[in-house]
Symmetry: C2
Subunit: 370 residues, 2 copies
């Protein structure tokens, strides 16, 4: 980070904000969305906002976090509020120029905006489009380390689970398998699952957003698992389809198609390519197999502090890939009444292409649990 | 529910909305907060809004949920959106009178409000204070059943955990114990923990919002556990302090004080009493023991679809209790460097007093794990 950056915001990763602030002639910028506050300051607690101008930054938090905030954010001011957040922001800004205050339009509520405007009389609130979303698409080394660990924890938990062979699945309720996978991720160091783990057996696997229930898993059916870990505040996201006995023949065909589609999608990834081009590279394979109507969603999405981040890797994605983005690549084919196949891995966009961050095997043989 | 209610909103629990709509001369009301959408319609999916006038209600959802919404909300219209939520709302409202549209000021973002105002030209958005919050404080029979089950699942998981005796704690990392408790709740039917489970050993237990880490639990120290389950979308919330060997003598004293404070608080609960009076009944006991400065938070809070609901049972709580409210009662004493004691149970406000919904023993002897 350039020295000027450090002096200007005393925040990590303040560059894009500085640009937005200059363009909109802001005196101050208020960041309220929790993942952005953490991203900019390193603070890991809740219920806190950060406000900054060109030479100064301040985290407004409460008594529970006073000690933690001082330890995690040594370079910025900490204002510990006693009452309302809006009053505390006004206190923290006393004596500062504050004619124009940028706010996060896609996070700040009408009520909070009104309270802040009232507490800061004479200040105009400027609702701004997402700034951190684009900034956060490019992961730095420390973020990449966290994502790699989140991937590794999710993979190890999966390997532990399926080491049990057929009895890891057959006769068990979907939700018990999901609970076990989550428990194993926690034991391996995850703070929790990155989203509600999906375990969908047989025909349930054809519903892309199925929630695991009390259904018992049988032999000779596909079991779709979609899971991820949160480690150091960063997410991983993986999908595999496993089975005990034999897979229904239609799904064996679909599996091969989806695996080839995933390979095609990953091969299309490199800086400068539009998201929709990557989606098309995978979709073409599925369409050629006559299954285009059964691929119900986009090819993938960014991951990071939240599980769905920019960019969206879909048929309408105009954004272009850049080095340092981390994406899921997850084509799927869903056959109602039979089952679904989705194979999902996490990849890093490098200067020349894509590097897989996940290392689970993807071939059908490895998915047979006896 | 009166027949007129059913005709007017075709929503469950629409009464308070009807009153608000009449007072503010609204043509329509838009509810965006997920827990309120679920509360009013019975829908259990995500990313959906409900909009209604006096004779009609409509859930605006997306393709993933079309089938589920039709099954869960048979009495109201379902509008499946293809694109933007704001455009879909405009579509759903075609041909309806829509001069004044009430919105949830404490949930709707500036960006969403702007998009809706743009899609609905000529409609004025009226930001309204929380309506469902007050409505949701009074639980009906079906909600009470869910909360009772959530309490029972949390209790059974705890009993299973401590059935292991001292070895359930000693030598294990706090976060492993937390993960086990969560796993047991899931196996017993919880969809997940109601919040991040706290397991805080020794001096860590004096920090009310401590997050469990890699610290290994020792003999002869207090271990504070604060946990709850979500069942059918409703939360429970319990706290106990357990130990292997002996508790530090100062904490034994504190334990007796906190137990008496909790009993005093629960004895003060009945309809018509102000929240602050209940808080004072418990706080008085702790102050009389010279530990008033060590009771760092309010006595309790409502629970329901989210873990912290109205009313807040604190020193400044002017709201009065009503029959059907469900509250936590959780006095605590925190001795920095030594440890903390908190005892938390969930109670229902009845017509004459309070009924405990939780049944774990609270006496110190029962907390000794060998």
């Amino acid at each position: 980070m350039a020295d000027s950056d450090r002096q200007i915001f005393r925040l990590r990763r303040g560059r894009a904000f500085r640009r937005a602030a200059r363009q909109r002639r802001l005196d101050l910028y208020l960041v309220t969305r929790p993942e952005d506050v953490g991203y900019l300051t390193g603070f890991t607690g809740d219920d806190s906002h950060v406000v900054f101008d060109r030479s100064w930054a301040c985290l407004v938090t409460d008594g529970r976090y006073a000690e933690q905030a001082a330890a995690e954010c040594p370079d910025i001011d900490i204002h510990v509020r006693a009452g309302d957040m809006s009053a505390a922001i006004a206190d923290a800004l006393k004596g500062r120029r504050k004619r124009r205050l940028g706010v996060q339009a896609d996070h700040l509520t009408l009520k909070a905006a009104k309270a802040i405007a009232k507490a800061l009389k004479g200040t105009e609130l400027i609702p701004l489009a997402d700034v951190t979303g684009a900034l956060r698409t490019i992961k730095d080394d420390s973020e990449l380390r966290s994502i790699r660990t989140a991937v590794s924890v999710a993979e190890r938990a999966f390997r532990e689970l399926i080491a049990g062979g057929a009895k890891a699945l057959v006769g068990r309720a979907e939700r018990d398998v999901a609970a076990e996978l989550d428990y194993r991720m926690r034991r391996l160091g995850a703070s929790g699952p990155a989203f509600e783990t999906v375990v969908a057996a047989g025909p349930n696997s054809s519903k892309p957003h199925y929630r695991p229930g009390g259904v018992r898993i049988c032999r000779n059916e596909a079991v779709l698992l979609d899971w991820g870990a949160v480690v150091d505040g960063y997410c991983s996201d993986l999908t595999r389809v496993v089975f005990a006995g034999r897979m229904p023949p239609k799904l064996i065909e679909a599996y091969e198609v989806v695996a080839r589609a995933q390979a095609g999608g990953i091969a299309a990834i490199r800086p400068g390519v539009a998201c929709k081009t990557v989606d098309a590279a995978a979709r073409r394979v599925i369409e050629a197999a006559g299954l285009g109507q059964q691929f119900l969603h986009g090819l993938g999405h960014g991951i990071g502090r939240v599980i769905h981040e920019a960019p969206a890797l879909g048929p309408r994605g105009e954004a272009r890939l850049r080095k340092g983005m981390v994406l899921t690549v997850e084509p799927g084919v869903y056959l109602p009444g039979v089952g679904g196949i989705r194979i999902e891995d996490d990849v890093l966009v490098t200067s020349t292409g894509a590097r897989r961050l996940s290392s689970l095997p993807g071939d059908l043989k490895a998915m047979a649990l006896g």
